[in-house]
Amino acid sequence: MINRSVKPSLAMLAAVLCSGEGWAAGPQFHGYGSLAWIDSPDNAYFDDTPGDHFNYREAALNGSWQIAPSWRIAGQVLYRDAGAFTDDKTRVDFLLLDYNFRLTEHESIGVRLGRVKNEYGLYNVVRDVPHGHPGVFVPQSVYFEAFRDALLAVDGGSLYGRFDTPLGGLGVDLFKGTGRIENPTAEYQLAQVDGPGEFDEVDEQGLRLILAPDALPGLALAYSVVDASMSLENVPDLSVQQLQAGMMTLANDPRDYGDYITSAQIDALLQLLSVQYSWHHWILSAEYLQIRNRLSDFSVLNNYQPDTSVTSEGYYLQLEWLAGESVSVYGRYEELYYNRDDKDGSGFYQRTGCNPYTQYNRALTLGGRWFMTSDLALTAEYSRNQGAAFLNGQAGVDFEDLQEDWDAFIVQLSFHF
């Protein structure tokens, strides 16, 4: 049945895959799912109006196969409905071929090609995995929703290395490729409206270094850097009549500029410092993020604006107590400022007339997780927020109505298999 010309290729492939000692077991299949009830009585949160809802739910199916000691394939499909944060709900989360070309007891070096998840900080690769981190969501001060798609994965490749060094275990991850932006969160981030044109993809490259020092077992230190750039695409050409009508509209209310953006280029350099220390049944985690943003080629109704640069920063401090075999308790304090030189958003308000609360967020979150079985868990948490930056990127929300002080109550049921 097989064409003769194909047989040698298959034989060669088999020889490559069989190189090395031993075969692992067959393919593995796993998955997870979750459903959350969210009550945010003051502000729209994962919804376009304040109140309670079941808008946050997800399901993933995962397959991986260690086909030989050096070769592995893996893929995952994710369905994720995050209410006002989502448009396309189903995506290929990753699909990759992993070739571990150098593997000894003390070092491992390899390459992954395809759609690969970006190693960035402590939680980026598991931000959607309910039991992969404490809490319903990863800290929004560092892993905020508006940049989720852009940072999650790239179509391209990554190079990884793990080394036993005199200092301790060292991990090096490099990635480069194109991130697919499948939701309009970046447009909302720029102008609080899904105007004409869209950010479809982001070119990015990144590096993460992570060290687990031998001198202090339980400690992990990491530095991540990502260089990303994206352009507004598919902007329709405006007729003279449309330009004139737009100018009249903006003369009445300049806050509507988001509907008339004709070009934009965003370049961002993200740097993230991470530390995590596990001691007995306590895990202390902290991360500090700094983003240097540059907005260029920015025009409204074809009128080009001066380039602008701002530096954003965010951090969190999180303590988790692994209280028992089926219970964990956690607390987190975090802050995010879109412009560290305008922490209360007053400059933003003077410049644009838009809601200054959207420019910062401070939050205290307390919660706990109960594992009813080893794979089924119930998580409950309460967040007290000041500022509304965590709410940016949502579709259909009237950002002018967002309150500075707001609460969120969340209960999530989640399982893995």
Binding site: A24, Q28, A60, Q66, P69, L96, V116, K117, E325
Partner: protein, 150 residues
């Protein structure tokens, strides 16, 4: 086929660890077992964490590491995780989830019984697993027991 290997094989080695520190109950209740070719390897708690976190991929001679676990509902699994790895079972799950759901690795192989654990470890070069002390009466002849470093 596995049974033949099992009964004829005097190379089966089970390494038992003494209880040097907390939590004593878990360590006292569980034996770590491995394929006989791994007698010279490091089975300290620290290294066991790397092994069971699926971070250690090969042994010193290049043999691939194969990790077996009992079902998560097994008291032996819980005793092993809390006693030897010194973490909560869901903490170990979190490490596995990170590996699998990020596409960077695979989970260990779960076996359904102690008998299967013994057969698989005996038959697989580079394999490591664990059994409860109460099951040690089922160990075959020729089993060696050593006190490992911590």
């Amino acid at each position: 086929m596995h049974n033949n290997k099992f009964t004829n094989n005097t190379l089966i080695l089970l390494t038992l660890f003494c209880c040097l520190s907390l939590p004593l109950a878990g360590r006292a209740a569980v034996y770590v077992i491995h394929h006989p070719d791994l007698a010279s390897e490091d089975f300290s708690s620290r290294n066991l964490v790397r092994i069971y976190a699926m971070q250690k991929r090969v042994w010193s001679d290049g043999t691939p590491v194969t990790v077996y676990t009992l079902p998560k509902t097994s008291p032996t699994h819980r005793a092993f995780v809390t006693g030897y790895l010194r973490m909560q079972p869901y903490q170990l799950d979190r490490l596995w989830h990170r590996t699998v759901f990020s596409g960077t690795g695979v989970m260990p192989e779960e076996v359904s019984s102690v008998d299967e654990m013994l057969r698989r470890v005996a038959a697989t070069p580079g394999a490591v697993g664990y059994i409860s002390r109460s099951d040690s009466g089922e160990l075959p002849e020729g089993v060696s027991r050593v006190v490992a470093n911590d």
